[in-house]
Symmetry: C2
């Protein structure tokens, strides 16, 4: 009775993978210790310096990508606007109107089609914001292809298309994913897709180091998206690093700073104001000077509660929609068609609303962009301003435009329509983030709330925070991101209270949007702690058993057979000592990974060959690093019938001191050990140090605290 010990991948269309967990535990085998001994004090210094250099590079490249996206989107949107505006100006009667509408809808659909096609057909993992995927990666789940160069290309082009296509999406979320890919690429010093190996940074070719750099990349992405370097660091820590290391954090911060600085600097050159560092992020909230009073705090809390409710509604609707999509819309053509449909509907609805809304306002000199829409000269349409602008500008306009800019009905309609559009859009097969739409919905009803209670436009900010908090349920990092984006430290308290309330209220109904999507993919995601009431569960009940073990000197045939057995697909194998004394000896002496065995088989490291001097050189760590991370499948390695009779000595390659727990250890203790050390396999032993089971990520992720106490999830494969 063998439970399948490891996990299913994040993308639904992905076939079952052998490798789906990352290993943050160093394998301190003989090769490793030998290498460490050879390396002097100075080599460690050099490594440390390389780490800093890599973080600097990550920052620069992430900043440049953000610039690229920003500039191209602006250009495309500009072209589109000019074309549609011309058409509207030409055809002012009803019949002509239709032509303009069709033109607009067609343009948008075309953009979205391109975006959807590259995602659906070339790299489905690039769909969405990428934040759930990065969360999983940092958590230790191996998500196939998530940090590849191809993914980055598709992501960048895809997000440009979907934003230019006028969808209710933002380009901020994808920045986080992009930063992570950049980090994974730079730190490995090679690209497997391009078949180019720069022969640098070879030391970093392992999960532990790579994960650290990916954290830095994600932070750099947040930093470039919101101009929030500290928020970026906190995001990475909140999502990823369970073990806080001062130097690592400091490097992450460095990457974040460089990233926002690069963006700022390049954009300042682009805007022909070289050196004027005024746009630290893709989105700028503008500067807030509004003061709040203490008596307003209860109002903020009420707003937080509204945000929590609306956010929960958003997540519930999106949950149903996603289930529908998983069942019925899983063919790429259908996905592209759905995306185009959404684009056309978005264009039509916006057009209709601009046309039928009757909120022309006298044009005054303002610092925010406004649109004339169908209004008389000297006037502008508030609805057109809300819909036609880039979403980032609309957010800023809602935050800052003076009292009286927006009518009640305009804001109400806009909130309602945009809410459903955004909800429909998230989960489409396009690259797009949910941050900006959330902020926009929140800012709209926040402003509405402010007008009804005759309060300042600060309420637009609080509404935006509440709505975003209600949807994504991030806490500390989101507070800091928003505070950094507003640049006003005194807003810390109200924003914190709003986000806290939104989270408490929202969590009562459903989890955050990212967690909903992670759960739908049945990924073995480990939370911070084991469920509180799980102390009565022991390792014996949790572990997978029996375990396939290898002897220290094992027959090649046995190894090949075990690795080829697709029904088990184990990734880690305890190594046991063969003593003559007793028959039933399974005493643990090490742990070896599937990937290591594959490299050994590939290099034919057999005892007999060593004796007959057929093996030219000793296998080194470099051979394992060269194969990292795409170890070939066992089927691709040819082992002849003669070779099957050879023996393999695993002593030098296995991890000789794997972490173990006794069988009576409680689930929280196992969990803590597993999580704090970033393990992939934890061997359960009895009092005589005999292997009796193996705990993997999946065994731990099954348990969670439901409404009625401890529940066991079925992490089935969809």
């Amino acid at each position: 009775m063998l439970r399948d010990p490891e996990a299913s991948p994040l993308s639904v269309r992905e076939p079952r993978h052998t490798d789906s967990s990352l290993d943050y535990d160093n394998i301190e085998n003989h090769l490793f210790l030998e290498e460490e001994r050879r390396m002097g004090h100075m080599s460690f210094r050099c490594l440390e310096i390389s780490r800093w250099v890599i973080c600097g590079l990550i920052g620069v490249l992430t900043g440049l990508i953000a610039c690229f996206i920003d500039i191209v989107v602006e250009k495309l949107a500009g072209v589109k606007y000019v074309v549609v505006k011309k058409s509207i100006d030409k055809n002012t009667e009803i019949g002509g109107m239709c032509i303009s509408l069709i033109l607009w809808a067609a343009l948008n659909s075309a953009f979205v089609m391109v975006g959807a096609i590259i995602v659906a057909f070339f790299e489905p993992i690039a769909a969405g914001s990428g934040i759930p995927q990065i969360k999983c990666y940092l958590n230790g789940v191996k998500v196939p292809r998530v940090v590849r160069l191809k993914t980055l290309m598709v992501k960048v082009c895809g997000v440009i298309c979907s934003v230019a296509g006028g969808l209710a999406v933002g380009k901020e979320g994808p920045m986080i994913h992009s930063g992570a890919v950049v980090a994974a690429g730079v730190s490995q010093g090679r690209s497997t897709s391009l078949k180019k190996d720069f022969k640098i940074f070879e030391y970093f070719r392992r999960d532990t180091e790579k994960r650290d750099f990916v954290s830095a990349g994600a932070a750099a992405g947040v930093s470039a998206a919101f101009g929030a370097p500290v928020g970026g660091v906190l995001f990475s820590l909140e999502e990823g690093a369970s073990f806080w290391n001062q130097l690592l954090t400091w490097r992450i911060f460095f990457a974040s700073m460089i990233s926002t600085f690069t963006l700022n600097f390049v954009l300042s050159i682009y805007h022909k104001k070289t050196g004027e560092l005024s746009s630290p992020g893709l989105i700028n909230f503008g500067s807030f000077d509004l003061k709040y009073n203490i008596y307003e705090i209860p109002l903020f809390i009420v707003m937080g509660a509204i945000g929590g409710l609306l956010g929960a509604l958003f997540n519930v609707l999106n949950y149903w929609l996603t289930i529908f999509r998983i069942r019925y819309v899983h063919r790429p053509c259908l996905q592209v068609m759905e995306a185009m449909l959404v684009a056309a509907v978005t264009a039509t609805v916006s057009f209709a609303m601009i046309y039928f809304s009757n909120d022309c306002q006298p044009l005054e000199t303002q610092n925010v962009a406004v649109f004339q829409g169908f209004c008389a000269d000297g006037e502008y349409s508030a609805m057109a301003t809300a819909f036609f602008n880039t979403p980032e500008r609309s957010v800023r306009s809602l935050f800052h435009s003076p009292a009286g800019t927006y009518k009640l009905e305009t804001l109400g309609c806009f909130t309602l329509v945009y809410f459903f559009l955004a909800c429909w859009t998230y989960g489409l097969t396009v690259s797009a983030g949910v941050f900006i739409p959330s902020l926009l919905i929140g800012a709209a009803w926040g402003r509405l709330f402010g007008i009804i209670c005759s309060l300042t436009s600060l309420y637009a900010l609080m509404g935006a925070a509440a709505q975003l908090g209600g949807i994504v349920r991030m806490t500390l990092s989101l507070t800091v991101i928003l505070v950094e984006a507003t640049g006003n430290v005194t807003y810390g308290l109200p924003i914190m209270l709003v986000l806290m309330t939104a989270k408490i209220v929202g969590d009562y109904f459903i989890e955050g949007l990212y967690d909903v999507h992670i759960k739908l993919q049945s990924v073995p995601f480990l939370h911070w702690d084991a469920p509180a009431t799980s102390h009565s569960l022991t390792a014996r009940e949790v572990m997978s058993s029996p375990v396939t073990c290898f002897n220290r000197v094992e027959k090649v045939g046995t190894i090949v057979d075990v690795l080829s057995n697709t029904s088990t697909n184990h990734n880690g194998f305890p190594v046991i000592i063969q003593t003559a004394a007793s028959e039933e000896v399974r005493r643990l002496c090490g742990l070896i990974l599937r990937s290591q065995l594959i490299v050994l088989l590939k290099h034919k490291v057999f005892v007999e060959r060593a004796r007959s001097r057929l093996r030219q050189r000793k296998l080194q760590l470099k051979d394992f690093r060269d194969a990292y991370p795409r170890f070939p499948p066992i089927q691709s390695i040819h082992v002849s019938q003669d070779e099957r009779e050879c023996m393999m000595d695993l002593t030098e390659f296995m991890n000789p001191t794997p972490y173990t727990v006794p069988q009576d250890t409680s689930l929280p203790r196992v969990f803590k050990l597993f999580r704090a050390l970033g393990l992939r396999h934890l061997v359960v032993v009895d009092d005589d140090n005999r292997v009796i089971g193996l705990v993997t990520r999946k065994d731990l992720a099954r348990y969670h605290l439901g409404k009625h106490g401890l529940e066991e999830l079925h992490l089935a494969h969809t």
Copy 2:
């Protein structure tokens, strides 16, 4: 050959303690599991809510203490100023001048005397800023009496006296210590000093929970001191938490926010501007609007290097001074006299400098306080302004007063004099922080640098950052604290670069000031990682051996004898199984702590008594919690000769699943396990699960990376 396995305390005059490490590992014995089973889902909710309530209380109380210190210092300084000013106005000729000088010096010395006496005679642990002690506590070193109510009282009064006494000190560092004490007190729901038990929060009476709250308290202290809630959280994380937990961090942030808000609110009432939240911290840098250009970045880096050099000089001088003090100035009377001497010298030097400096400037309407000193009417003395103000105001004046306020010579002299005064002052037996003097020195030479290169007063800020960074060597948290204090997010990059350079340059010569002091006390402080080149060391070489073990059912006499043996002073004892089969069986089955054994002995939990029904009730976790944290010494427990022959069954009380490592585990692996889980004892076992050694904090803290590779420290007891 038994190496002493545990540590020495932080205070030099402290006698050797039995208990000197904290245990962050849950002891999941039968009692614990039973209690968990009894607690329902709701009880865990309630606990979670109590945690939030406690954090709120910590914030409020820390904020109030900060207000109290601020207001009292201001009042006292005001009284002192009026008295001295009157005397100066009366006696303008040279002879009379001396009278004023003597009056001033006497007043200052009197204040300082009071401050020094309460510290030296009542609570020596309250000396200094308290940051090294809190760092040690959060690191897991048990520092005796550091979080007691008495310490808090002495600290608060002491810091008021030393600031009012005109010493070159700040009141910010002590706030961190105060916050930590408040947290430790509130979270335990009782005060042992006051003999008052509120019977609340009893669940939190153990090291794990208490440490979490102390982190929150320290963060609240930073937050109140600098108006930097995010900086506070990062400080706590940087210094303390090795394992990052989202909910915990969120609670720490809550405490920080509440703390700065309380301070702000109460001070706004005190200043009769209720609701105008303009003073988030004890120190306010004022608002900075100055822009910097990219070409200035190399200049910032140069300033960082200068700060690193000056900081290293400061630390070296202070190191020598501290060694001198440990050798010769260890009697309380001498300590009080030294403090008074410093106060008198500080007053004299300041007076002389004001008198001899010739930098009277025309008085203009300015928003910073200036002093007439010995200048004509309508003029003011820049030197007097620098010396007479509270250091916080002087910092602000250096940051913001317009060009031309300070002459070159004034700034030069001031830097020089204040540098040596501050260096002499730190380490005196008074409560005082080093943040503000460092900022002041740095601001002075920064401003000087700015004037020489004809640059803006932004250089005063960068100088302050460089100097502070050069002395304390904090990184991420300090950047965020400074950014929050200036309220300008765009200064993030230059401040980060300055602090980074200062740290790199400074680290080349000597460690940070706090680390110097921690090292001088031979505390077993664990850094983030094991030294990089230590992979060749194994647990076998690191551990203490042989280990005193107990049998699962052990004779009371044996236990009492072991606990009474002052030459070993072990705190944790592996429990082994006695099997009939073999003689030499030391197979591990649990771990029991000295404190647990003491409670068992006190309640006379003997097998014989249980059989004879003499024991009324079963021992519960509550009995252990009631004794926490001041477990009585073994000498105070009377065990009769008859009782010595009884047996004790440890099965129910021991930790049945202690973490273990095989003997070949490398030092970095042991270190990581120890640090990530916050362990106190790690049992080393052989292949047959027999105990062969015990690794404690001290065994790990011995190794560090010196100039010539791995070095072994001698953590001797001074």
